[in-house]
């Protein structure tokens, strides 16, 4: 206890360099924990993107690609599914429900998803949470649109507002379907998934706005002059299908059936498996981040080592005095190690505090700017383990100046050489 008190008072006496050391450790600790937290929560919100869907069916390509464009709305489909194939799958005896998805248009950078009202009924995310309307209802008229939470918030749309859908998925598309504006009839509650970042219209609407389009170009009148109301707006093709089964047991059976479908090359994936596959691809970046933050912690510890070692020479008198009043070299050694422990503990405490303050302050910013939904949760066992590793690494670092001081106090004895 005496040594601990001496160590603490000695540190307070050198408060400037000590404070800087603590801050550098704290920043590195906060960074490491921050990276871990974001990684962890990103993974969680990532795997929470879709649940309750047993299979996703698209044109034959890679499973990750299909997942990316159907669920995350990243990239494009290489091919479509014919309406006939959709009908075959939807009519399969094991299938409970299907959600057709038709992609290809956008609105100011946000994807427009053509689907039917089953989307709002059957799509689930997180722990099988259904989609909830914050305002309004699903589309019913042809030119109705439902907005994801982020689209409504970012672009400032309210119920009843009109908007125009652009052809293609670019951020600044010049080809717009200006002849057929949409009216907002519903806004979804936030989910923290890509659902928030899309607009939803009916499949028929997608068909309708493309009437006068031939091979990607707008040719007014080329689709004929028949009024929309009397046309058959059933699409020829869609982009993907989400499938719910009556029993999970049938999953692989149906997957095989789809993959072996004779009339066109199709691919059925299990969303969970594909998510896992995708996440393991992101692993490299994730690990790189972890390595970088570990390096920051290491440099923080090296900084501490530098401060401790450079201060040691000036403290030889202090050690000689302690020796003269009866301290053994082992006491001196302990004193130095305790100092390090105090420094590292303070750094860890401050760093953790720093992280929580930063998270609390930046939570809404991360949410609105990056769509990253973080929760202020208490440290997980894994994070506590990381802190433990940092503490032990700090302790090991402290052994070096401890040993140096031990050698000094053996060599110097009580004569003070400065």
């Amino acid at each position: 206890m005496l040594l601990l008190r001496i160590a603490a008072k000695s540190l307070i006496n050198r408060r400037t360099s000590v404070l800087l050391t603590i801050i550098s450790i704290a920043v590195s600790v906060a960074l490491l924990l921050g990276v871990e937290k974001i990684r962890d929560q990103a993974k969680q919100s990532f795997t929470n993107t879709i649940s309750g869907t047993d299979l996703i069916v698209g044109a034959r390509s890679g499973s990750v690609q299909l997942l990316l464009y159907s669920v995350f709305r990243i990239g494009n489909a290489s091919n479509n599914i014919t309406w006939q194939s959709y009908q075959d799958i939807a009519g399969h005896s094991k299938v409970a429900w299907t959600i057709p998805i038709s992609l290809g248009d956008s609105h100011r950078g946000y994807r427009v998803v053509g689907t039917n009202t089953d989307y709002f009924k059957h799509y689930k995310y997180g722990r099988k949470q259904p989609l909830v309307f914050a305002q309004g209802l699903a589309f019913s008229a042809l030119h109705d649109v439902v907005l994801g939470a982020e689209v409504a918030a970012k672009l400032g749309y309210r119920m009843g507002d009109e908007l125009v859908v652009a052809h293609g998925t670019g951020n600044a598309s010049f080809a717009k379907h200006e002849d057929q504006p949409f009216r907002v009839t519903g806004i979804l509650a936030p989910t923290g998934t890509p659902v928030d970042r899309a607009l939803y219209v009916s499949l028929e609407a997608i068909e309708a706005i493309h009437i006068d389009w031939q091979a990607g170009t707008y040719l007014p009148g080329s689709g004929g002059s028949e009024p929309l109301e009397t046309r058959n707006l059933q699409p020829q093709a869609i982009t993907a299908i989400m499938v719910g089964l009556k029993s999970k047991v049938a999953t692989f059976q149906l997957q095989r059936a789809v993959n072996n479908y004779r009339k066109e090359p199709l691919l059925a994936i299990l969303p969970g498996v594909a998510l896992q596959e995708l996440w393991s691809m992101l692993n490299v970046a994730e690990n790189a981040m972890l390595v970088i933050s570990a390096c920051v912690v290491l440099s923080g510890l090296f900084g501490m080592l530098t401060v401790l070692l450079s201060g040691l020479n000036e403290r030889r008198r202090e050690m000689a005095i302690l020796r003269s009043v009866g301290a053994r070299p082992a006491h001196i050694y302990c004193l130095l190690v305790m100092e390090t422990c105090l420094l590292v503990s303070m750094g860890i405490l401050l760093g953790t505090g720093l992280l929580f303050v930063a998270l609390a302050a930046g939570l809404s910013f991360l949410e609105t700017e990056f769509g990253l939904y973080l929760q202020l949760t208490w440290l997980s066992l894994h994070e506590l383990g990381l802190l433990g590793i940092i503490f032990i690494a700090g302790l090991c670092t402290g052994l070096i100046p401890g040993y140096r001081a031990y050698r000094y106090s053996l060599a110097d004895g009580m004569t003070i050489r400065i």
Partner: protein
Amino acid sequence: MTLTLTDICFGWPEQPVLIDIQHFEISRGEKVFLYGPSGSGKSTLLNLISGIQQPLSGCVSALGTSFGALNSRQRDRFRADHLGLIFQQFNLLPYLSVQDNVLLPCGFSDLRRKRVIDTYGSEVAGATALLERLGLGSLMDREVARLSIGQQQRVAAARALIGEPELIIADEPTSALDTDSRARFIELLSEQSELSNSSLLFVSHDLSLASHFDRSIALTDLNQGGQN
């Protein structure tokens, strides 16, 4: 005998012998002046007496215990229990209060703590009493850095004296003081050593101080080694 050196010899490897003393002793309660000009092997001798270094040959014994029979850990403990040391200057840890500085030896020696508690009831009472005896009663909680050098040396003396160790070794404690305070400090120190029933070994290069002591001896006469 409080301290006995017999035929001790010390030198660093492959260097001429630094210390070669046939016989030197201090009896209980004796106050000895040791004249040690610089370069006479004074620091080495003090390290030998306090058991920090071991002689190559010969025997250092204190209070009937031979240092040669103890390991370094036991010697450190012995020093903590039975030796009070005062240095030339900067004796105190600047970040501890006057009281904490005085009580440092009690942290490392159960024996000295026990003695203080037996006599005064508590460590703090012991420190207070000692500081008062040394005329520092009002400075208990003062920051060390705000004390004059004379006051600092008296605090160092209090620290050496606390728990009544058998031998006080003072290494040039007055060299930073002016002549007046020098004499006063020595008087105070020898008075208090008497009260604590401690022997005093006072080392200095200033021969004029010798008159304050029971006995005076020159290290240059005592030490046969290190003459070059």
